[in-house]
Amino acid sequence: MTARWLRDERVLAALVQLVVAAVVAAVGMWLVLGVLADLRARGIAPGFSFLGQTAGFGIGEGLAFQPTDSYGRALAVGLANTLRVAVAGIALATALGFVVALARLSHNPLLEGLARAFIDAMRNTPLSIQLVLWIGLLRTLPPITQAMALFPAAAATATAPDPPTAWLLLSLKGAAIAWPRPLPGAGGWLAAAAGAVAAGIAVRRWRSHVRDRTGAPAHHGVWTVAVLASSAALAWAVLGPPAAWDLPRVEGPFRYAGGYVTTPEFAALLFGLVVYTGAFIAEVVRSGIQSVGIGQREAARALGLTEGTVLRLVVLPQALRVIVPPMTNQYLNLTKNSSLAIIIGFPDLFSVGQTVGNQTGQVVAVVAIVMAVYLGISLLTSLVLNAYGRSVRLIER
């Protein structure tokens, strides 16, 4: 007669799990130690202490980085570049995806045909080839000494700089856009902004209160805009402008001065990722919108709502439940696809990691770090989106 506790289902399940865990741990340790032994046999001492050594190489763009900084800082700069591309890419790809999906669903045959062609072309060609095409396109721009000046600013005068500047300069070295440069009074503006936000919240509360009491329309939007505009006017009158426009210009034969400069590599990567992932997102959004029963749309129209309002208030909120999980996938894909930056010369995490691994010989350690970072970013993204998905999920009763 076996003991009672051994016949307990939960105990047996726990025992099996423990055994499996032990086996997996043993296999894992055997692999890791094998790798360490192989590295030592080849004369490469494994470890992470190389992260503190001087890098000795430069990084083309991103956070400030000197060749005297450490390898660890180089990887951090690469990570910052990856995040910059990933965040901008996710935002723009989502916007593009929604627009293309709505075009795809429109009744206008030209619009629908264009959207369909775009989606098919972008989804069915490899991303690496698209990136090469984008960078090739951006290499046809003129050299910086003959930069294209779009929206030219004031012509050269006695006080203005010569050559004349513009709001947007385009050349082989990248794009330089006019960027606001905070003036000394900016701190006061932050306080004013905080005050305006507080006032806006208070006003919205008051309007909701009025609507609940008297039934008059709340006009939240109008009142919020009024509060913000009046606070801005007040702050402008008291403090003066918060920032001045820093117009870009070409300095010397080599570079831009002023404004915000983006390199063609960043632009090519961003455009490539946005267009590629945007096509996938368009299909996800389309499937989400089409998952909402036609009865919903018909009922809303019967109530007299316009197409736009139907989409905004009835269809999209229900479609979002279906859209969010595959959308998470696309966001993760975009983040990981950004590692293709190495083929066009953008210094993202993977590219910098390759250089570090090559110069130190610690390829295994660097690859482990890079993979761990990508894993962390992906887990964080899916965590946030899953939380959002749970909040819009339909709760069956």
């Binding site: 423990l18 865990a21 997996v24 741990a25 360490l36 001492a45 000795g56 190489f57």
Partner: protein, 384 residues
């Protein structure tokens, strides 16, 4: 119930931690020699020792080199030599339009194959980018790396390589457009400079520009062709690489005459073959094949007149050609291993003239890449 759901998560975390513990604990501190990868018991013992001694040990002991099976025997058994090479650098490693590998480094690959296998054509060429080349050698994908690789301390130690004799003494230079009117590095302040990823040039560029106090923006691209096409299209104002590479690639640009290589040498770049650390016999083989080729030029032995030298009475020449003293056996090769090599590939001078000489488009003057008797740096130890 909360406990049921969180149990698998807990178990997985535990598993991951135990598996990764050795990796984190081992941090460039010396450990017990792990020469042979033993069974699970030894694995466990190793892990415990690693964790226990990681804190106790104070200074670094160099990791002991384990002996491998002998690459010479492996290459012989395989019947071909796997050589890691360039395929985009005219003059050094280049794939011709007919599909033939040609170049200075290619000829040295052929020389090693002729010495070891008796057939200069028994070579498998693997084209590698500068990022891939060391990993390919470390994993054993190639037997020898002859791909204009610079001999540096860190590559000799932390990358786990052993370098053969320098076959080409080069230096790092800078190429700019002639119409920029720049004649020295300081004139490139603020410029964008194209450079290949994972090369010594990347490191030296930072050092050199810092020493002249010029700021610059590096544009780092993966392979040589991309670097020079980006420069040609105007993405960068200058491109930096070994001077021999600059001269070679200048011939491939759209308008070679519009570019000029600055008269600045930014660093020493001794280029030579590399093998994996730990196989002394294979390293000796590669070393002495190269020395033999240099010595052949010293004695005036060429691929055309070698048969006359086979009848020579000079003891040094007789030893070089294996007619006396059985020197090849010490290397594990046939005594006359250099005869077939010189006959098929030629001596150093012939290899140089064929690929970089005045009859080629590159026409790089020999400079220090000449025999020590002619004022250069090529000096072979004696064959005895």
């Amino acid at each position: 119930m909360r406990s049921r759901r969180s149990m698998p998560v807990l178990v997985m975390t535990l598993v991951l931690c135990t598996a990764l513990l050795p990796l984190g604990a081992c941090d460039n501190a010396g450990t017990e020699p792990a020469a042979d990868v033993g069974g699970p018991a030894e694995m466990a013992a190793d892990a415990i020792t690693v964790s226990a001694t990681a804190a106790a040990l104070s200074d670094d002991e160099p990791p002991p080199a384990a002996t491998s099976d002998g690459l010479l025997a492996t290459v012989r058994a395989r019947g071909t030599l796997r050589c890691g090479v360039q395929n985009e650098l005219p003059g050094f490693g280049f794939l011709s339009p007919e599909g033939e590998y040609q170049g200075f480094d290619i000829d040295f690959c052929r020389a090693v194959a002729a010495a070891v296998l008796g057939d200069a054509e028994a070579v498998e060429f693997l084209p590698l980018t500068s990022q891939q080349r060391f990993t390919a050698l470390q994993t054993g994908e190639v037997d020898v790396l002859i791909r204009n690789t610079t001999w540096t301390l860190s590559r000799d130690t932390t990358n786990g390589l052993d370098f053969g004799p320098t076959t080409f003494y080069d230096g790092q230079g800078m190429m700019v457009r002639s119409d920029l009117g720049v004649s020295e590095l300081a004139g490139l302040g603020g410029a964008s400079i194209c450079v290949g990823a994972g090369t010594t040039t990347e490191k030296n560029l930072g050092d050199a520009m810092r020493s002249v106090g010029a700021e610059f923006t590096p544009v780092v691209l993966e392979d040589t062709a991309q670097v020079f096409s980006a420069y040609d299209e105007g993405r960068c104002d200058a491109v930096t690489s070994d001077k021999s590479q600059l001269a070679a690639q200048q011939t491939t640009l759209a308008d070679p005459a519009a570019h000029v290589v600055l008269d600045v040498t930014m660093s020493k770049e001794p280029l030579g073959p590399a093998v994996l650390q730990g196989d002394a016999q294979w390293a000796d083989v590669v070393n002495w094949v190269v020395f033999g080729i240099i010595a052949a030029e010293e004695f005036g032995i060429t691929s055309t007149n070698i048969d006359e030298f086979m009848a020579s009475e000079d003891p040094e020449i007789r030893r070089l050609l294996g007619l006396e003293d059985a020197l090849g056996e010490g290397l594990g090769l046939a005594n006359d291993f250099l005869v077939g090599t010189i006959r098929s590939v030629g001596n150093y001078g012939e290899i140089y003239d064929r690929n970089l000489g005045p009859d080629t488009t590159l026409d790089i003057p020999r400079g220090v890449n000449n025999l020590w008797t002619q004022g250069g740096l090529l000096y072979s130890p004696p064959f005895r």
